[in-house]
């Protein structure tokens, strides 16, 4: 199969890859760019484990072909922050025990980041709605909601809200 050339920005770096036309964005990120923090949990675009940001918006990267990302700016979990320089959402997931096995976590963090970027003070219901496309089997979502609530508070006010 003839390959197509894709040039894009990933986590602030310029990257160029030749891919089969059928290659999904998630496959290119994982297999070609070896950014394995973005996970694949299903084959029907239901689980959200592959959520990344494309041009600032949360996208399930299994719903996009790699070639569609040509010219885009993509952020994956690796680009959100690393130990020592965690994004407040990553920090809040750690502080609030918002993860157990960790498999859904990168996608969940990316979905949550999209929410708080557009809604600085989300209600619990808004948080639950925003992450309804991301399935977690471990946490029952309780602590994920708490983590997103705290992260929004930190991003908004620079400090965690007092616990209710």
């Amino acid at each position: 199969m003839a390959e197509l050339h894709v040039a894009l920005e990933v986590n602030g770096e310029h990257r160029e890859v030749d891919v089969e036309p059928r290659t999904l964005l998630v496959s290119m990120l994982r297999e070609d760019l070896e950014l394995t923090g973005t996970h694949v949990g299903c084959d029907t675009s239901q689980c959200g484990a592959c959520t990344v940001h494309v041009d600032g918006h949360a996208v399930k990267s299994c719903t996009m072909l790699a070639v569609q990302a040509d010219g885009s700016s993509v952020t994956t979990i690796e680009g959100m922050g690393q130990p020592g320089s965690l994004h407040p959402i990553q920090q809040a997931f750690w502080d609030k025990h918002g993860l157990q096995c960790g498999f859904c976590t990168p996608g969940m963090i990316m979905a949550a980041a999209d929410l708080v970027a557009h809604n600085a003070d989300p209600t619990d219901a808004e948080i639950r709605h925003a992450i309804a496309g991301n399935i977690c089997r471990c946490t029952g979502y309780h602590n994920i909601v708490a983590a997103v609530r705290e992260a929004a508070s930190v991003l908004r006010d620079g400090a965690p809200a007092a616990t209710a």
């Binding site: 949990g41 959100m80 965690l86 025990h97 096995c101 498999f103 859904c104 399935i135 946490t139 979502y141």
Partner: protein, 800 residues
Amino acid sequence: MTADVLGKPVKRVEDPRFITGNGRYLDDIKLPAMTHMAILRSPYAHANIRSIDTSAAKAAPGVVAVFTGADIPYNPLPMAWPAGGASGIQNNINMPRVLATDSVKWTGEGVAAVVAETAAQAIDALDLINVDWEPLPAVVDTEKALEDGAPQLHENAPNNRVFDWQVGDKAGTDAAFADAEVVVSQRLVNHRLIPNPMEVRGDIGWYNPGTGEYTIWMSSQTPHIQRLLLAAFVMGVPEQKIRCISPDVGGAFGSKIFCYADMALVLFASKANGGRPVKWVEGRRESYGSTTHGRDHVTYVDVAATRDGEVKGLRVRTIANLGGRLSTIGPGVPTTLYGRILSGPYKIPAVHCLVTGVYTNTTFVDAYRGAGRPEATYVVERAMDLLADELGIDPVDVRRRNFLPPDSFPYDNPSGLLTAVNGSKIYVDSGNYEPAMDKALAMVGYADMAANKAEAKTRGKLLGVGLSTYIEVCGVAPSKWIGAVGEGWGAAMWESSNIKVHLTGKVVVTMGTQPQGQGHETTYAQIISHELGIPMDDIVVQHSDTQGTPFGYGSYGSRTSNVGTGAALKAAAKIREKARRYAAHMLEASPDDIEVDGAEYRVKGSPDKKKTIQEIAFALDLAFDTPEGMEPYLDETAYHDTPNCTFPFGTHIAVVEVDEETGNVELVRYVAVDDVGKKINPMIVDGQLHGGIAQGIGQALWEEAVYSDDGQLLSGSLLDYAMPRAAWLPNFELDETVTPSPVNALGVKGVGEAGCIASTAAVANAVNDALSPLGIRHLDMPFTAQKVWGAIEGAKGGQA
């Protein structure tokens, strides 16, 4: 002085890698020269294989090899836990082969495999394999499988019967019913579920032609057991020639306990291809046929009671669907793990349970979070509510009347784990049920529920409240039980731990248990820090690799906190003792005169004469002057066999609102008071409860594996199988009582399954309570809007 971290909500040491994309799950691993495997799976639920033509697939681009069952010299997968264990009960066993040879018994059974340069090429080539099928009639229904004239799956299993297993006192139970003032009976369906860990299963097999050694990376809860099973039972390879590694495991919930065909297949394929590694990762839809399902019981329950609600007898007849062939411990789950706790927290003098296992043309069924205990809890908790309904007594009062009093323990339950080896018994270790229930009732405002129902009615909503007062059995398994004739598999089930205090004072702990998200690297480090007085930051906990960790049975059945920590505690005690003896040597004192306080080893009466454990390790690890009989290095291994199981308990209360117009069920509140004994890390305990609660709610409200009559899985993808979503659940309201377990030194019990053991019954009781004003006595799960609407319309005499 190192701060004591035991019992504290310490943040998890695992998390920095998971929140930054630095976890390493199976599919994240790439090896040099790695190839990819795809498996052709049966499109039929029941068919004979007349022939398989792989020639076109072998010629396809990128294809390295194509295999069918005829190519594989291995044995079928092993059966580790027949019903009744080694008692000699007839079990008509049919195990999967690595690839099916003559026939297939469910949609998704593997029949051929393609190995190719890329995963896409392997999948593409599957379409070029031509199987000449002879389709056969199929049976998928749990009860219909036993009927005369049903399609037959296996020659050695007439009427598709796998076994008949019974427990309890039949004569005593019959007598209780003969004398009963009231008898309540109900058919209960505990429907089939799909475990759905977010990471599917997969393996990478690598055969090294230079050494003759096989290495397999597997997403598994049990790497040590898999090495044993693959070596001794499936492949016929010496055990020391196989190494099993579980990398980060993205959830499991029981489904990754078992020995799967693909494990042997990737190793076979790697050897056949001259040692090129072979990776196989199941797709989500594929996983529904290649990884086990859970539950799937049909039960007839009868309760004998007095008119004032005292239960005198419990009779249970269950048919358990085990699928087309058996999974590793499939028969053990609906028997020992189910029948033996049917009486729950209640003092029921006579219990009898008969379980029949059946084959159907469905995916094999095995342990799924709770494994038998949610099914048992569902039976007894629905039975309590049905009895309350029959007698016009509040479900709370029926429970209160029948609870075992707190002075009952240790308690021999009547269907219970009484099997004795040399006279020793397994007993319910502890309990104090009313305080937990009272606390939950206060939290939910139970006294206000009548008013709340009236208020909801004005909004067109039927409010229901449901209790589940559960007990759990954790910590499989005391060897005297699991090794007992008539019960287990005739083998021990201890756990293991090795602790090394290296000469820099840093500690490496290796465990035989295997986490899948539970945070073992944190909780074991908390325990070892507490025991040795060494900061957590100086301790690393390692697991998951048969090379470098002591043999262990893995993590499932909420066993790690009872059994695994016991091993860690013993190893730490051995470390302390050896350090004490070497401190005496260093301080020129008698070992009896050395007192230990955290990390400090002091001479009694001379507090200035002391050494820290770090100083002792440095000296002992380099020692050239050890006392007579003492070996160098602060390095100890321990094995721990728990003397008994532990029995968490609690009360969960669900409040639901059913929309009378649409049948939609909304879970509006969820209150849980759990007693899991003492806690190593309360934050992690709460997280386990949250997740378990959500899974059990999922069963009650949404999740169901549905087959068509001809055996096609209609809920065959995540589009069709309804996993709980964040927007469908409320925040959970948790509290505790603390009754330490007397079984282990920490007083812990285990918490991995408690949430899901309790919650399904609580929600089911709540929905049935909501519907009871319409005259609906019992509705089976899951309570989808369509089903509930139909029941409401039916009750109102409308056209459902």
